[in-house]
Structure formats: C-alpha cells, structure tokens
Amino acid sequence: MAVEKMSIAKALNESLRKAMDTDPKVLIMGEDVGKLGGVFRITDGLQKDFGEERVIDTPLAESGIVGTAIGLALRGYRPVVEIQFDGFVFPAYDQIVTQLAKMHARALGKIKLPVVVRIPYGGAIGAVEHHSESPETLFAHVAGLKVVSPSNASDAYWMLQQAILSDDPVIFFEPKRRYWDKGEVDTDAIPGELHKARVVREGADLTLAAYGPMVKVCLEAAAAAAEEGKSVEVLDLRSMSPIDFDGIQASVEKTRRLVVVHEAPVFLGTGSEIAARITERCFYHLEAPVLRVGGFHAPYPPARLEDEYLPGLDRVLDAVDRSLAF
C-alpha cells in the first residue's frame, strides 16, 4: 500500500502525472500550464518531465483551447485542458455546449470525446471579480457532459484519473479554496465509482448533502450539531451530473431530513433538482421539506463581502435547526 499525505493540489498534480505516464495520448493544454505550472501550480513540473508536445502552453483563448482539444480528441488524443478560473470558461462555453457535449450523439455514438475540462471554482480566496464563481449548474444542465467535483485529496487523485479515462467529456471542478488542504491518498487503492455519493459522516437525524468546497463546512456543522446532541449525516455528492439519487435516497430514508448545501446560487441550482427528486422519491419518508443553502440571486460580491455571501457554519446550522423544527 502506498498511502501518502498530500494537499489536493499535489494530489491533482500526481494524478495528472500518473495519467500521462500510463497513456501517451493524454495531453495537458492551457494558459500558463508549462513553465509556470499553472497559476495554481497544478501542472507544476509536468512540462519539464513530459515536454512541450504533451504539456502545451496555449494562446490566451479559451474557445480556441476547447475547440482544438475537441479536434485532438477526434484524432485519438485525451486532452486535459485547464481553464484558469471559473469566470473565464465562458469564452469556451459555446464550444463546450454546442460542440463538445453533442458530438457523440450527432455521430450516432461513432465518435468519442474524452476531453476533461479542469476548472478551479468557488470563492473564499479574496479574489477580484470572475475568480470566485460556481457555474457548475450551467454545465450540469447540458446533456452530454459529466460534471464532478472532488472535496478531498484522495478523490482529487482518483476522480481526475477516472475523468481522464472516461470516454465522455467531463467538466472537472476543483474547489480552489481547498487546494492546500491535506489528506491521505492511497495511490494503490481501487477507487470507488466516479459518480457515486459517499457518506463521509454517519448520522441519524438529518442529512447534509454537499460537494466540493462545502463538504468541509458541512462536516464542521455536523460536529457542532453533535455537541448539541443532534446526529447529522454528511453526504459528499462528488458528482453533479449524473447525481447519485439512490445514494441520497438511502441516506434520507434513514434520517428523514435533507439539507443541500452549495456555494452556487440556490435558484435553479443543484439543490433545487435534488429537492425535487428527493421529494418525489421520499415523499412519505420526509419529516421536513428539503432545504437548500447557497448563494443568492446576486452577482458574486466583492471580496470583503464574500464571507457573508458564502454559506458558512452558521447558515448551515440555521438550516439544520429549521429542518429539525418541522
């Protein structure tokens, strides 16, 4: 067994390294991914070891990056592209939505597009505009794309390799405020399924479902609730498309209460879809309506207000209390 403690950033780096070692068709593309190793250093050292033909510094053009990655994938490569920050994926949104997502269906399944689009996302790093957003729902809504987000180092390591192995395009959201969080990674383990939710804390009274950056907040909330005698289960969804409704259902049938937490705006967000489905599936099990905690229907605010905007421990606990009060 090779268990190592490493940060999420390091786990992603190691994961890319392993994928490139294993399959010569795996390419990395993006702005500043070469010498600089990306603005978050996720690709640090890879160009040095794999060369400029496999770790490709691109022009500053997101539509170009994704569009050419599509072409490379058509030619048999497995490009892993880096979008520098969440807010800068939109010049590429056209290519992702109109081309990447649909080509497999249009070709009657004859072609595959194993493209991974890595996007550092979410707030709480004190950044300027367009560096803190959570646009995952905009991608999850598009058929043909898979959308995932790890919350810890082990998942970062394994989920990225699974995403690269996937023959479908995967939008891989990396919780940037957690890049420096450390955790254990077993590099020999047999990983779980990419789109399966995971119970990260057992509980009996209520389920908190989250993904990416909010899993840690929910774990803290569950610990705080435990001090008040409340037993809260925490579910790491891990995948926003597909969503593991069976996993959520199993937890909710046990706890009978569900609160979904994410940084993205609540309105028409992942939580809305989960609330609707779980209400359908678990109507007679639920003791309270499914509650959602997340961002507002407002632009992501300037950094000095982000602590208020982002769901923190208090807002999650408030929702826990409201649910338990039904």
């Binding site: 702005e31 070469g34 010498k35 400029e52 691109t58 500053l60 010049p91 367009h130 507002f296 208020e308």
Partner: protein, 405 residues
Amino acid sequence: MTVESTAARKPRRSSGTKRAAGAASARKTAAATAQPHDAEPQLVQLLTPEGERVEVDSHPEVAEFAAFVADVTTEDLRGLYRDMVLTRRFDGEATALQRQGELGLWASLLGQEAAQIGSGRALRDDDYVFPTYREHGVAWCRGVDPTNLLGMFRGVNHGGWDPNTNNFHLYTIVIGSQTLHATGYAMGVAKDGADSAVIAYFGDGASSQGDVMEAFNFSAVYNSPVVFFCQNNQWAISEPTERQMRVPLYQRAQGFGFPGIRVDGNDVLACLAVTRWALDRARRGEGPALIEAFTYRMGAHTTSDDPTKYRADEETAAWEAKDPILRLKAHLLASGGADEAFFEELEAESEALGKRVREVVRAMPDPDTMAIFENVYADGHALVDEERAQFAAYLASFEPAEEGH
C-alpha cells in the same frame, strides 16, 4: 497616409531589444520558422532610450509623426514627465499596500507609463476609453481619482467609479471583452454623427481572443471611430508573445482593412504622436487603427505572480535601460527643459500623493452586507427581494445573542 505606408513604415530602430537568451527555451516550438518579429522591431520612435530627439529630417516617416507633436512645448514635456512620475508613484504605493495586506491584489503598470500617458494625453475629453485592468496611467489622464481604482483590488466593489463622469469605462477582467464594447460604442458615436473617438486598451495576450478579432472585423466593416491600443508588454502572465502570435501584431490590422503601426511604447512622445494620428483619422471618418505599443511589464503580472519562474533577469535588466521615465528625464536635463527645482517639487508632490493614497485606502470602509442585494436589477426582482428579506431576518436573529456577551 495609406494602409501600406503605415504598415510598412521603417522608422528608427530602437537598440537593445533582443531578448535575453535564458528566457527563450519555452518558445522553441513556435520560434522554429516564425519571423523573428521581436528581434529588432521596427517602431516609431521620437526619443531614444538615451533621451535624444530622433533626427526628423533623416527619416521621412518619422517626420510625418513628429508633425503630430510639433506643438508640444517644453512645459508640455514637463507635464508628461509629471504624469509618468506620479502614476509610477501611485502604482508603487498600491503594490506596497498589497504587500501590507491592504489590497487583495494589484496589477502593476510599472514600465508601461509612457504607453499609457502618451496615449492618454492624446485624448479629448469627449473621447471614450475602454481599459482592461492595468490602465492606471490612462485613468490618471482622464482625471479619475486614483484612489477610486483601488476599491476593486481591495475587494470593496467591482468598479468604483461612474464611467460617464470621465468617459473612462470600468476595468474589464475577462480578457478581450472590452474591445467589442469599444467597437459598439464607436458604432454609436458614428451613428450620432459625433466627431469624438473611442480607444480600447488590451494586451498582447488578449490579441489571441476571438473577441478581439471580432472587434477588429466589426470596426472595419462599419468603419467605426475606434483606436485599438495594444500594450505589447511581452508577456501574458508566463506566456511570451511568441505563444500569442506568429507575425507582429500591428501587421494583423492590414488583413482586416485598416492601418496598424508599431510604436516604441517606452517613448511617451512617440506614443502621443501615433495616438493623435489614429484619433485624427477616426474623427475624420477614416475608421479604426491599431497601435501596438512595444513595451515591457517590468514587474510581476500581478502581486500573485512569480516572474522568476518564467523569465530571465537579463531580459528585465535590458528593458530597464529603456525606462520611459529616465529617458524623458535625460532629455529634460540635457535640453535644459527642467531644473533641479522642478524635480524636487515633483518629488514632494509624489510624496503627498503617496500619503493621500495610503490614508484613503486604510480608511476605505467595508461595504454594508446588504449591498450584496443592491443593483442586481435596475427594475427590481421578486426573488432578490425575497432573499434580501430572508437574509436580513437571518442576520437579525444573531442580535439578541450577541448582546449577552
């Protein structure tokens, strides 16, 4: 002046523009067969790095541009110098404030003062500016209080000034976007029959964005009064210009049907001249022009960046010899255009500016929490109202508990 004559002009060459060898390895793939577009760039220059005026007579093309600054007096030169010095001081102060934790981030313009002040001083009040996020010197020329520029970097707002007060649009962070806004604005100017012009600033990296190429095309097709001012500071974060283009940027204009010109971006006088030329054309209804100001980002991309990872010290040192401020100072001293008293007075003014900037930034209050819900819509929105009320009630729920402490 025809498209050909401007694109192919061959004025004075500036010396010492060769890149340091150490920084070249990242560019191997593109450089294999590419034109050595940056080896000895041809550019319009009126003031040499040593601070000497370029001989107008010996170069007809230089004479053409020199004519655009023939009216510039010694006092005007001192004014340009003052602008550059104060802008650099403001910028340095902001960098220091970021280091002290007062700003979350800062994008320094160090080294690009001449490009910004030269072009900025060419503008008329009724012209309209679309900047990116580094145009602090242009903002200065527009009369925007520099402390207003700091709000978004401190994290208290996303802009901080009314674009229409000084015809200086908000900073734009999504690379390239503003070039299309500028083009649309210019289309409006033309429709209105006004004779003002629009200027769009962007970087060499931005020139790779589809938006910028679409802006070129729209402006050409509609013959819009817009000047594209690219500050080619050689780097887009860690990517050198070779990663963005295969032919010199200014030459690209020709393919879209308008003139492009490369100017020594560290020569404030030449920048003033070529921008006046381009604005004049635009006002006369002759359509867009592209100016590539060949300059250098002397500092880091932003305060989050570490340029030692991707570029050589020798390169930076070579560009330091072409410092836009030292160049004009040398000229002013040699020509008797300014005396010691002038420089001393300016130093005192710099100090005062620095002090004011520090004070204003430290006193800048955090926004009210409920500002999150302000100005989301011009006409209001039921969902925003609902969330505002819910959040206010939520915040209020803490109040009694806090009184107990």
